[in-house]
Amino acid sequence: MSIKRLLTPALIGKGQMPTIFSSDQHQQKTVTPAQDWQKAERTEMNEVAAATLPDNSAPATDSPPVVIDPKPEKHAYINRASLESPYFPTWCPGCGNFGVWTALKNALVELQIPEQELVIVYGVGCSGNMADFNRVYGFHALHGRAISNAVAIKAANHRLKVIVVAGDGDTYGEGLNHFISAMRGNHDITLLVHDNQVYGLTTGQTAPTTDKGTKTKSTPFGSPEVPINPIGMALTADATFIARGFAGNIRHLTEMIKRAILHPGFSLVDMFQPCFTFNKVNTYHYFRERIYDLQQNEFEANHKVLAWEKTFDHEKLPIGIFYEDPYSVPFHASLSQLEEKPLTELSIAEVDMTEAIAPYV
């Protein structure tokens, strides 16, 4: 498959995705022509990705793996092979989504999460299309609503790790109300926002994060609104873990995602994620010239006002942890009815009606 063809807008949707595999092919170990095709494409894509992502994508090994599972012998941990689905990404070559995808997989593998105890809820957009590329318990939501699904999944079974993979349009536009509420409630979910400052899947319209004046398909005379300040918004909504990463720095992003997943309570990782096809301004080069790591500049992520100041920095763009509340109590831990077990494990086999009917006698 030629690179030229990969760049056609149709591919950004699902147009060229291999459709049905006859069901059993998912399990076949022998290589079928379809898998062969994928493999070829994969190599090709990796080359492209490698060319456009100069940063090395070696997994971070700084911190030792944290074991979450009390009975490791009973479970299969997530590993690189277990994450592999029969599909390979349809993203454009060089898309920032590849960097995010790699960092997410690194983090999941390094954290040693049992494969059945992870749920990833995906929004709708180029980022959400990752749903088909990971073999996990996946929930591919409606556009804008992934956070709502995710907070309930966590509240109903808090043994699960719940991650939301969504875009900036999804989170800061269509689903803004859910974003704010989830932070106020300190629901224990990890929100990974692919912030590419443009709408990719719908082929290049203005996003809530697009700079004012930017000409896009939907704003041919320039975008009339100032962009949203997601980190600032998260600070005012009392999010208990707020970080930013960059798809071009996979080692750093892996660390951010790991820290976010381990945080008890709501965690946001906003990710600069260049869109090669529709955003010609906020490129890898653009970010490389501007970003700096907060933690390498002796910034301590424990002061909201100082963090707040950082969010207004436009010349230099900070990445790293803006704020972390070490005393965070997640939503589910505040409910006495969930003290002993998750809701999914509480029995409804026999319901005694005495208390329910008492007020009506």
Partner: protein, 571 residues
Amino acid sequence: MSLHWKVAGRAGEGIDVTGMMFGKTCLRHGMNVFGYREYPSLIRGGHNTNQIHASFEPVTCQQKHIDLLVALNEESISLHLDEIDEKSVVLCEATQDGYDVSKYASTGAKFFDVPMTNISREETGHFLSQNVVSLAMSVWILGLDIEIFRQVVTDQFKEKGDKIVEMNLRALDHAYTYAKEKLPQIKPIAEKRPNTQIFLSGNNAVAIGAVAGGVQYFAAYPMTPASEILHTLASLQGKYPLVVKHVEDEISAMNQAIGAAYTGVRAMTSSATGGYALMVEATSLAAVMETPLVVAVGQRPGPATGLPTWTCQSDLQFILHAGHGEVPKVVLTPGSAQEHFELTRLAFYLAERYHLIVFVLSDKFSLESYMSMPQPQLKYENERYSFAQDPLPEDDSYRRFEITEEGYSPRSVPGQAHGLSITNSYEHDEFGYATEDAEMTKQMNEKRQRKLVSVKPELPPLELIGPEQAELTLVCWGSTRLVLEDVVRRMPEGVVNVIHFPCVWPFPTEGFFQYAQHAEKLICVEGNATGQLQQLIRQETGIQIHHHIHRYDGRPFYAEEIIKELEELRE
């Protein structure tokens, strides 16, 4: 022998509590009770009423004529002149409120100017116990048992402390002594029977039906007339394995319910139809994800904000068609409190068994009226259905969306080993991976539609109320049954019977044909302007019903008015 009592006054005067206490007093005499509330969309001020109809005979709605009216202000008389006549007694405070009752003499009613506020002030230092005072007087006038009422008052206030109970009992005694000296008795109820019933609103019945059905996660945003479902369930947290979340909006309510259901717990949301409008998109999500879900919806007149605190049945076609794409669903339409309880409980079973979205569609009249119903069983058992076997095969061959004959496929839940799959808002293959394949798209749609065939034998059948043969056969759904039952009781035997739909979708085609072929004259009675059930019947059976009675002014039907129209039809 039945009694019709009404209290009216400004909002904020405790009108509803007064009605509730009177209803319970009647209930504990062993009577059947119906309580109807009217109020504007305000917190304070505005005219509120609460009306109780009680009898040892079956009781399903209020009537226009009032035996005893407690008027807490002048408006409470002037707005209800057509409801009182020479048989009525009115308790009022004309002197205190500064008006002259003689101008209402033409009604023929007996007015008693009684010092309700003063007795309350004297005994408690506050006017608030005037409701207990007025009730104690009502108890005397109607010959009810004062001891039963004392107990109701004690139960009502015990959470506020002994002092409050004692104050109210003092006011009660004072008022009862006063009444014995100065007020007459009308229609005294000498009888008492053992009480086997409970007295609750349609909203309460939905909530405790959900509890019996094993609800575990409930997310909602308040909106009249369904907010009380949220209140009731919220208060039961801690007593049942239940999490209730008042969320940021209806969109989130529905999506949270779907998210919770996905983990395997029994989930539900509720709203008014206006709030449900925001849930339509996620209705479609539940359909494609094949997530079990129960949605209780309360109708009120629209369009838009409409009449927030009044009733109608104008959203049947909306609910039937809600959700983009072809959404298989079940629409249950309860009328009585007992139906609200039983059908909500059933909804949880149907949703889980068939991986369907099940609606409990009601309206303000049913949801906010108080009704007596037989006390439910003390224990309900809930089996779990349609989950994947555990453990699953280790070769990961499990297919979450396997194409099956019955339409639903056993589901794995997160946390279960070897059950990994994608639950997808996109059309998908049997594993859940997105697909645009034509054949798979067709097969998946057909699979989902087959659930409606599978579920059909388990749905509540049409109910025939009244004699098997009648001159006129009324057809109704939802709350209208309450009034039509009264019509059947009031009209000469053999004149009318009623076909009631407790479930409108999937449409009970065979059942309807069976009843319709024996009917001499069909008349559709609905709370809307466009004849929505009538349309549905024609769509599904080809039967054109030529007569109808519609009401769409926000008010419930009254048996008296329907009887009048039926008499005209018979001529």
